[in-house]
Amino acid sequence: MVERLSFYLERNSPLHRLNPTTKLVVAFTLILVAFLGRGLFLPSLIFLLILAPLSFLGQVGREFLRTTLNLLLPLFAFLFVMQSLFYPGGKTVLFGFWIFAVKLEGVRFAFLTATRVLVMVSSFLLLLLTTHPGVLLLDLTQRGLPASVAYILASTLQIIPQMQAKAATILDAQRSRGLDTSGSLGRRIRALLPLVGPLVFGSLVDVEERAIAIEARGFRSSRPKTSLVEIEDRPLERALRWLCLLAFILALGSHLWP
């Protein structure tokens, strides 16, 4: 059972070497600026001039663009069709066909929304592509995130493939004893019901054992914790994070300015 647990791609790039918190702060700042800042082209410029070049600096450019497009193209298509045709208050008709009319206001709104979503999704994607989830959580723990919260996040990442494997096993076991999982939709849904019991109760039993296991490894030990991995944090990065705060304040200011 080898499953890919995260988006992370191992590379030796300056972006990978950056402190995870710095990347997290930059990602949040870019998103906030894209949503708060003024200007129709601001979010698209953030993507083209900052995020896309960064992804190539991080040596994950191809994966970055492909995954972004795969995730967002269907949404964008839907957004443009709906908004350009049905945006309330649209007056400037660009062109019309049959009973429909494409309006400029709708297209502008769709473009702004789409590029904002693009910045949001792609900056997180870039963070995840270049940051190992374990390192990110470790860094956050060292900055005061409770160890139990970090544990919940890390184990959730790992538990999904496990649950899928378990569900497949239970389903196979039931099929091999004659459960019919094909046919009409209603029938398929009914066939899923017997899966729920074993999956949920089995998982609850697992939780108890898992609790014993991490207790046995001193998880709640009263001694101060140490960590195997050392995470770098250079003064330059600290400066960059302050810069991000400044950018956020500026964007907020421009948003609130009448």
């Binding site: 046995a216 001694r223 140490t226 960590s227 195997l228």
Partner: protein, 290 residues
Amino acid sequence: MAVIVIKNLTYTYPTMDHPALREVSLEVEAGEFVAIIGPNGAGKSTLCYTLAGFVPHFFKGELQGDVYVAGQDIRHVRLEDWVLKVGLVFQNPFNQISGAKFTVYEEIAFGLENIGVPREEMKRRVEEVMALTGIADLADRSPYALSGGQQQRVALASILVMQPEVLVLDEPTSQLDPIGSREVFQVIRQLAHQGVTIVMAEHKVEWIAQYADRVIALAEGEIIASGQPAEVLTDPRLPEYGIGISRYTAVARQAAEEGLWPPHQRLPVTLEEAAAGFRAIEETDYARLR
């Protein structure tokens, strides 16, 4: 000096009517390797959990009698720190993977991070224990992408690395093939020689016969036999209680009924003993024929 002293221990789980352990009394010396055998539901796991402090601190329930480990009353220890003294490895290797770590190396280091071991010492201990348990080549793999047997070794290594005084193992070889089981028994034997006290619940009587210092047989929460492996494992009552016996004992018992086992010689538990017994009877047969 006895590291583990149990006197008249009776314990009932919160939701159960009947006690899981009844009037259990037991002493284990430092560096002794004690194996516990018994059918499913005999109380083996409960005894393991008690030594590790999970009974009564995790499972609650009612505990009567006395349990002292390393001079401390188990009822008055803090579970979160007790785990440094008594290490627990249990049956299902899958659920012993912490889930917090992404490689085997980090997984084994997890316990040391929690108890605040400095980084350099941590690396040294992790590498040592991976070599000892034969998993050095798995260091960079995901702990979830391993076979059951490999996971079981990782689980064992993750506890060994914490260097507990007492090591409690609840069927640690359930997922291992014969070669893997022997390696685990050898590692554990070696630890016992180094002074670690071992209590292991296990079904594989052939290995117990070879490696354990003492065997305790449990049935329905009570100790029904205790003593040298050769003595306990050939106890004629074991099958009545649903406890498996060594195939060598089984064969020799059948042979004895047919008069093919040297009279007055104890039944064998290992291949060597069985071979010696059959050789002896063969020689006397030849002697008679001549």
